[in-house]
Every structure is written in C-alpha cells, then in structure tokens.
C-alpha cells in the first residue's frame, strides 16, 4: 500500500517531510488537511496525531507524527535508495553523534528563533492579528548571533554535520525560506558561507518540486 502523507500543501512541517520523501524516491499519496477549517483538530485527525497538528503519515498501517521523526523514519527505512547518508549509519558512532549535534542545533539554535519571526510576521498577519515587533527584534538578535556561529562552522565544512549532506541541513529549509518571505533574507544573504550552503539546499530538485506546494507522486 502506498505511503499516505496527511498534510497541508504549504505547512513548514509538511514540506519538511515531503522533501525527504522526494530525496529518497518514495512514492506517496498526499491527502490535504484543511487547516483553515481546523480539520487537524477534529477527532478523525487527533486519533492519529493527538497534538492536532500536521503532518502525519500512514505507512501501511504504521502511523507516525512529528515531521523530524517521519523524515528520520523514511531516511532509515529507505536507506538503500535515493540520496545516501541522510542519517549516518549507526556503525559510525562519531559521525552519527555529529549528525545529532547538528540536528539538535537546527531546532535549538535556528527554528526556535526563525519560527517566532514566521509566526509574528507571516502567520499572525494573515489572520489579521498585530505583529509583536519586540518579539521579532529579539528573535532577529538571537538569529544574528547563531548564524555568525553557522558562518564559522560552514567556513570549515560543507554541511552542518561534516562533509556530507544530512537531514540536519535539509530541516532548515522550510523556516529558512519563511525568513525571506518576512523580508529578512539578509540574515542569510549577508553571510557568504551560510548563503552558499542555503542556496545549494534550495537548488535541490527535492525542494524545487515541492516549494510551491505538495502534490501526490503516486
């Protein structure tokens, strides 16, 4: 049975999963969840994702939520096809540890602040609520500090976990693109190593295919 992705076409977490499915050449059926109608809060959905969020997958009866967990599951289950090494093999304990260091950093040092900006300047505005400029400024200040560190790391190695692309890099894309939409692309563009790294991620066919919205491939 083909994998089912229950998601919203432009949700950052949904895009995160769709990209990994494309990287690993895993066909999937996309079942759109209507966020505006709050479909994700209805019983049929919360039975599968009790936190009432998108996305979740149903892989032949195996249900999983949390986009980063889903991405990892796909990368491991289909380790032998598509882009190799998205998670280092567990036989290389140090490489795996450096991947986990980068993956932890992605959330703690990047998403935490980028998501605040996206929420205040994009999500709230779309719903007609006022932006809290103080929160935005705080998040920008933090991102400036963190991205200076990224600039240093990416001056010495091509990707965040080392010389190879991993999920830790890819997971930055959805909220990274939202920074541009919020008019703050300069946070990335002003840093040559970060810009080079980020633009290389955006150029990947897996992102180009889904960036304007997820569609079924099966």
């Amino acid at each position: 049975m083909v994998l089912k992705l229950y998601a919203a076409p432009q949700s950052t977490a949904s895009l995160r999963v769709a990209q990994v499915l494309h990287e690993k050449n895993v066909p999937f059926e996309f079942i759109p969840i209507d966020l505006r109608a709050k479909e994700q809060k209805q019983a049929q959905h919360t039975e599968k994702n009790p936190f009432g969020q998108v996305p979740y997958i149903d892989d032949d009866g195996f249900v999983l939520y949390e986009s980063r967990a889903i991405g990892r599951y796909i990368a491991l289950k289909y380790a032998g096809q598509g882009t190799a090494g998205l998670i280092p093999d567990q036989s290389d304990i140090k490489a795996l540890a450096l991947f986990e260091q980068a993956a932890s950093s992605e959330f703690a040092n990047f998403e935490v602040h980028a998501a605040k900006i996206a929420y205040e300047k994009l999500f709230k505005v779309r719903l007609g609520f006022p932006t809290n400029e103080e929160v935005v400024k705080g998040a920008i200040d933090q991102l400036n500090v963190k991205l200076d560190v990224y600039e240093g790391i990416l001056g010495k190695q091509a990707y965040l976990a080392g010389s190879e692309l991993t999920l830790a890099d890819l997971y930055h894309i959805p909220f990274g693109t939202r920074l541009y939409r919020a008019g703050l692309g300069d946070l990335i563009d002003s840093r040559p190593n970060v810009a080079k790294w980020f633009n290389s991620l955006l150029a990947r066919p897996s992102w180009v295919t889904i960036k304007d919205g997820i569609t079924s491939t099966a």
Partner: protein, 245 residues
C-alpha cells in the same frame, strides 16, 4: 582517558548529560565552567563549543555539544551497559516511535517549560525582571500539551511506547519439515524508559520552583513524572552534577 563533562553543576542541560552518563554507568570527570565569570565565552571555550553554551564533552579527544546529542552518543556507545535500550535503534519502527517522542519533548514540552522556567528562575539570576503574564501564558500552553501527554500516558508507561521487539529463536527440531532457516518469533518486552522520557526531567522539576504545579495536575503525567524523578540518576544530579571518578 576518562570522559570529561564540561558544564555548570545546576545547568539543566548539564544535568541532562549527567543523568545519561549515570544511567549507563559511565564514569566521568566533571569540569566546572564558571558561567558567571564568562568562562563559556572565551576564545578557547568557543573552539570546543562555538555557541558558547554548556555542556560539552571530551571523550578521549572527541568533543561533542548539545546535551541531547551527547546523551544519544553515550546511550549508543555504551548500549550494552547500564539501563538498556535508552536509544532504541534495533528496529526501524521502534526507532521511529522513539524519535516521535523525542521530537515531542523538544517541540511540545521544552519549548514552553524551558521558557517558563527561564522567565521566573533564570532571568532574575541574570539581573532581569520576571514577567508573570508571560509565565502564565506559557503554563497555559504547556498545560494544553500536557493534556495530550496525559492521554498518551494513559495507554502506555513511557512516552515512546513499545520500543523493543525481542527476537526469540524457536527451538530447533531436527525432524521438522521446515527449512533450516530459523523462524523467529517476535515478542514485546515490557514498555521501557528511553532518553525521550529522561530529557524532561531538568526543566520539569524546575517548574515547581518557577511557581507551577502543572506536573502534578494531571494523573498520568504525575504518575510518569514521579517515576522519572525517583530514578537514582536524577537523584544523583538534582543538587548539582559532580565527578564520579
């Protein structure tokens, strides 16, 4: 060379690593990094931990930061020692359930509990003024997430659920007409604790210091959290991480 843990004794992230080391029975030397003297921001320190945070480890020359990454590394490297299966890697589905729980800890617990504790406990230590309204907002959000935790923990003992499938080889029958390949029966072990549960402890415990009893307010969450708090590894680090060598 014995593993060195660089951190601040009562830093939540340092405690997180200390717990993992003790669960796995890994001896370590604790090296104090004096945050109030700026020791985590010196050029030498930034060579090891470029974000200028605690903790990091030096395992015989291999340095690693991000407390959850360090704990995973310890659980993986010493898989055969101490508390078993803290990082369930054996089976793709078990590992996925673990990763789901680990992601929930970061996005649905730490995101609110960490900020709530910061607002009321750490901010004043750094000369800032706590904002009660911000704190209450965060607790309200956390409470909604913990309502979901309570539903999950009504059905399973720990957050990752069933994470071990223990293969049991069938006894061999020389007269059997089946092929010589072993047919293996998979059976489930009792539900096991994983890092995804333990990671909740440092900030979870500080919520009451911050002024919220939310971890006691929901029956299954209370049962689960009281169980975590009673573990010797937490008892060993709750008043500050110390060397075990």
């Amino acid at each position: 060379m014995v593993l060195k843990l660089y951190g601040w004794p009562k830093s939540t992230c340092t405690q997180r690593v200390g717990m993992a080391l003790i669960e796995k029975g890994v001896p370590f030397e604790f090296v104090m990094v004096d945050l109030f003297k700026g020791e985590s921001k010196t050029p030498e320190y930034l060579q090891k931990q470029p974000f200028g945070q605690v903790p990091y480890i030096d395992d015989d020359g291999f340095t690693l930061y991000e407390s959850r990454a360090i704990a995973r590394y310890i659980a993986e490297k010493y898989a055969a020692k101490g508390t078993p299966n803290l990082l369930p890697i054996a089976d793709v589905r078990a590992r996925a359930r673990f990763e789901q729980a680990a992601s929930v800890e970061v996005a649905d617990f730490d995101a609110f509990a960490g900020r709530a504790v910061f607002e009321m406990v750490f901010k004043p230590m750094m000369g800032g003024k706590s904002d009660e309204a911000v704190f209450q907002d965060l607790i309200t959000s956390l409470s909604a997430k913990l309502d979901v935790y309570d539903k999950i923990l009504a059905k399973q003992k720990y957050m990752a659920g069933n994470v071990s499938l223990l293969p049991l080889p069938l006894p061999s029958h020389p007269s059997s007409s089946y092929s010589t390949r072993n047919k293996r029966k998979l059976t489930k072990r009792p539900q096991e604790i994983t890092l995804a549960d333990l990671f909740h402890l440092p900030y979870g415990v500080l919520l009451s210091t911050a002024g919220s009893d939310i971890m006691q307010a929901k029956p299954n969450v209370k049962r689960w959290f009281d169980d975590l708090q009673s573990r010797p590894s937490w008892q060993a680090v709750k008043d500050g991480v110390k060397s075990t060598v």
